[in-house]
Amino acid sequence: MRLSHFQAMLLFAFVISLAFALLAKHRIGERVKYALWTLLAFLLIAVAIGWLMYPLSR
């Protein structure tokens, strides 16, 4: 199986966000909101950390 770094991160973030939303919240509206926020936070923080580490890779 071949996955790019971004695809692996996207899959991981999506699955974990979905599961966390179901575990943490009880109403459907709250779950959808929580899952979307968590997914967004996963992606934004990972990309931000990636850019912060960029100078170190050179």
């Binding site: 071949r2 770094h5 692996a8």
Partner: protein
């Protein structure tokens, strides 16, 4: 508070049944919720844990054994074991062994460990529902 007491009353005080639900939930991800008739959650937990475990295996991550020498390896084993039936299937299949020389293989190790830890959270959730502490 009143809602919590009502849930506990409905579930009845049956720790043995809650224990059995927890064991079933560990063995097959989502089975605990299925027993408790939480169909949607059961399906999503099974798919979530299954997706992480199968991806981890397909990326040729390291699936730890109990015979691991270092303490971190033993912790990895405990995390992997949390995936229940997926751990035993992965040990049975052993698709060419781990390959952590590439980043993908290392990701695979993390994916599988996360599947196990996530399933343990689902086990706790099923146990709490069975005890009437959660809706």
């Amino acid at each position: 508070m009143a809602e919590k007491q009502q849930l506990e009353k409905q579930a009845g005080d049956n720790p043995a049944r809650a224990g059995l639900v927890a064991v079933a939930a560990w063995l097959v991800p989502g089975l605990g919720h299925l027993i408790l008739r939480k169909w949607g959650r059961a399906a999503i937990y099974f798919l979530a844990v299954g997706a992480l475990a199968v991806t981890g295996l397909a990326l040729r991550g390291n699936i730890f054994s109990v015979t691991s020498d270092d303490p971190f390896g033993f912790l990895g084993f405990l995390a992997d074991l949390g995936a229940g039936v997926f751990y035993f299937i992965s040990k049975f299949l052993e698709m060419g062994g781990p390959d952590v020389s590439r980043a993908a293989g290392d990701y695979g190790t993390r994916f599988f460990a996360t599947a196990g830890v996530l399933n343990l959270l689902c086990v706790l959730d099923a146990h709490e529902i069975a005890r009437g502490r959660k809706p």
